[in-house]
Amino acid sequence: MKNERFRKGYRLILVLILMVSVRSVTFAAGQEVKIGAALSMTGAAAAYGATQKNGIQLASDEINAAAGSDGIKIVPLFDDDASVPQQGINVYNKFINADRVALIIGPTLSNTAQVTNRIAQQSGVPVLAISNTAKGITDIGDYIFRDSLTEAVVIPNTIRVAKEKLGIKKVAILYGDDDAFTKGGYDAFKNALSEAGIEILSEMTFAKGDRNFSPQLTQLKSLNPDAIVVSALVEEASGILSQARQLGIPATVPIIGGNGFNSPALIKNAGESAEGVIVGAAWNMTSTNPLNKHFVDAYTNRFGSPPDQFAAQAYAGVYIALEAVKKAGSADNRKAIREAMAQIKDFDTVLGKFSFTAGRDADHTPVVQTVKGGKFVVFGE
């Protein structure tokens, strides 16, 4: 009697797994390029996954509209890794083996990328990271590329420009220490500051999801630093900016931020307390390069709000992928696409002239911006 019950339970589980039968219909080769977009649509990074999806969708629609009958069309397959590595792996497996995508764009979070890109590398599927800035992502293997400038490139440039223009000598640091993205930013800031010989008065931390920064900011204010260096995501960043000004930290003490600050949400949420903030980033929202102008206008009237850096790097990623597919002359030969992508040099994108370094990291000029009159402008112009 006992194992009869067990067998019935077992049969149910087996049926369920087999029910998830695999759709292995392959599209006609040649004309259509399947790109797997593994993004975080739920969970902690849902906000960034959402804008990345918009960027990819916009780029694909533009390409498909312009491709006409013979051109190469992009088929973006979106799926949600829920900001969790475990689900990211399942998404990658589905893209690689079931949908047989030509290449993968994403994932949103570096922690997930550390795990999922290993699978892509073993299966020989090119991955184009569009927001991972942590160290070591592209060292996973030669199939892993990245169009998002690492903090190690952006931040030293920001500190250098800030020191030149403002002559800062002593700063305080405030950073989120329980998130890989913000912790990575902090490490980069620390090295850049010591190289530039700037004294660090004190280091204070906050946790992801915090909204109350007044205790930390009150302490930092009492040390009257020349500037406050902040490594945070846009939610925390806008809170820090508005509370800093409310607590009476004068505008003469600028706040310097990393990639996380580079979003219109910063200005919308922090309001005028965002004036004078210095943001080192990989994408200049107001650059007059025609590709970028078109992108910002197209995105704004399609989605109702201006794009952020995540959307820009995702948008550029699709065009880079298309360029690689064109060069490779094949819509599904993964190896050829990888080879072609590695050779991309001075390719015009919304991020500017883009090429891959030997280590397959992004190589284009970073930008240092500031907020003047409620808009991002290049700092020091």
Binding site: R5, F6, K8, G9, L12, I13, L16, I17, M19, V20, S21, V22, S24, M41, T42, A44, A46, F78, D79, D80, A82, V84, P85, Q86, Q87, I89, N90, V91, N93, K94, I96, N97, A98, N111, Q114, V115, R118, I119, A134, G136, D177, D178, D179, A180, T182, K183, G184
Partner: protein, 288 residues
């Protein structure tokens, strides 16, 4: 044969996660079977995972040794935590174990040996599907036999009515600690194996929401028989893939489906889905 190869290529990792989640669910099951509501088992999995990962990476300990010592350390911590905490009852015990879990997570975020917020990166991928399901089968067998032993009967008595159990000579403090410790050892072992599956473990994976997820596997599956939580873990781990397969758009809808399933089960199937599969009272429990 080709179909199987293709199946495992696409769903191999999913099968591994089902196995690991089932093993972790079994860890909580043991503690629940003695009526102790613990929200700290995800933390024990974390302790097991980090210990095993550190041993393999920094001390180059052999894989089997590192995951067993991870499990043992979780057991020792469980005994130390268990003695004071198990005097508490119901919601208070849940909150004490929850706060223990959060302290462990925060420690993992702050210590350099645990790799801080980034987590432990570079753990060699040693856990195989075969090992996961062998350990799961052995643990299942152990659970079935434990239930028939004096320890199992004591758990069941304490779960039903602790005062009555004591009046029958059951040393309730001792057996509650045993349930808590066996649960921690299994969770620790599962954590160690999980660490060697994914190349990286980060503190976030062992926090409060992970502890709640283990509880949901048990409740949805059913906590009156050891393979209840296995069914719960299998269904809920496979669910996102099923919804993905059916084409349910990614995002909040899947999260909502999870919530609705849990609500329906707790309202209409107090003894979990497993009670559907069998009428016998020991599994389905008395009709309310």
């Amino acid at each position: 044969m080709a179909f199987l190869m293709h199946f495992f290529a696409v769903y191999g990792n999913l099968v591994n996660f089902i196995g690991i989640n089932a093993l972790m669910a079994l860890g909580l099951y043991v503690t629940l079977s003695a009526g102790q509501l613990s929200l700290g088992n995800a933390a024990f999995a974390g302790i097991g995972g980090y210990t095993a990962g550190i041993l393999t990476m920094q001390f180059h300990a052999p894989y089997i040794l590192s995951i067993t010592s991870g499990a043992m350390l979780s057991g020792i911590v469980a005994v130390l935590i268990g003695l004071p905490v198990l005097r508490l009852r119901g919601v208070f015990l849940a909150m004490a174990t929850l706060s223990f879990g959060e302290v462990v997570r925060i420690a993992a975020v702050n210590l350099t040996i645990t790799g801080g917020a980034q987590g432990l990166v570079g753990i060699p991928n040693k856990t195989t599907t075969g090992l996961i399901f062998t350990v799961l089968a052995l643990t299942g067998y152990f659970m079935a036999k434990l239930r028939q032993s004096r320890i199992g009967w004591s758990f069941e008595s304490i779960r039903e009515d602790e005062a009555a159990a004591a009046s029958l000579g059951v040393n309730t403090t001792f057996y509650k600690t045993v349930a808590f410790t066996i649960g921690a050892i299994i969770s620790g072992l599962a954590g160690g194996m999980y660490a060697h599956l994914n190349f990286i473990i980060s503190p976030g994976e062992f926090g409060f929401s992970a502890a709640v997820q283990l509880l949901i596997y048990n409740i949805v599956g059913g906590t009156r028989i050891w393979y209840g939580p296995l069914l719960g873990a299998t269904l809920l781990t496979a669910l996102p893939e099923v919804l993905r397969g059916i084409g349910v758009t990614a995002g909040p809808i899947r999260m909502c489906v999870n919530g609705i399933i849990l609500l329906l089960v707790i309202l209409f199937l107090p003894n979990g889905l497993i009670s559907l599969l069998s009428r016998s009272s020991s599994i389905a429990g008395p009709r309310p």
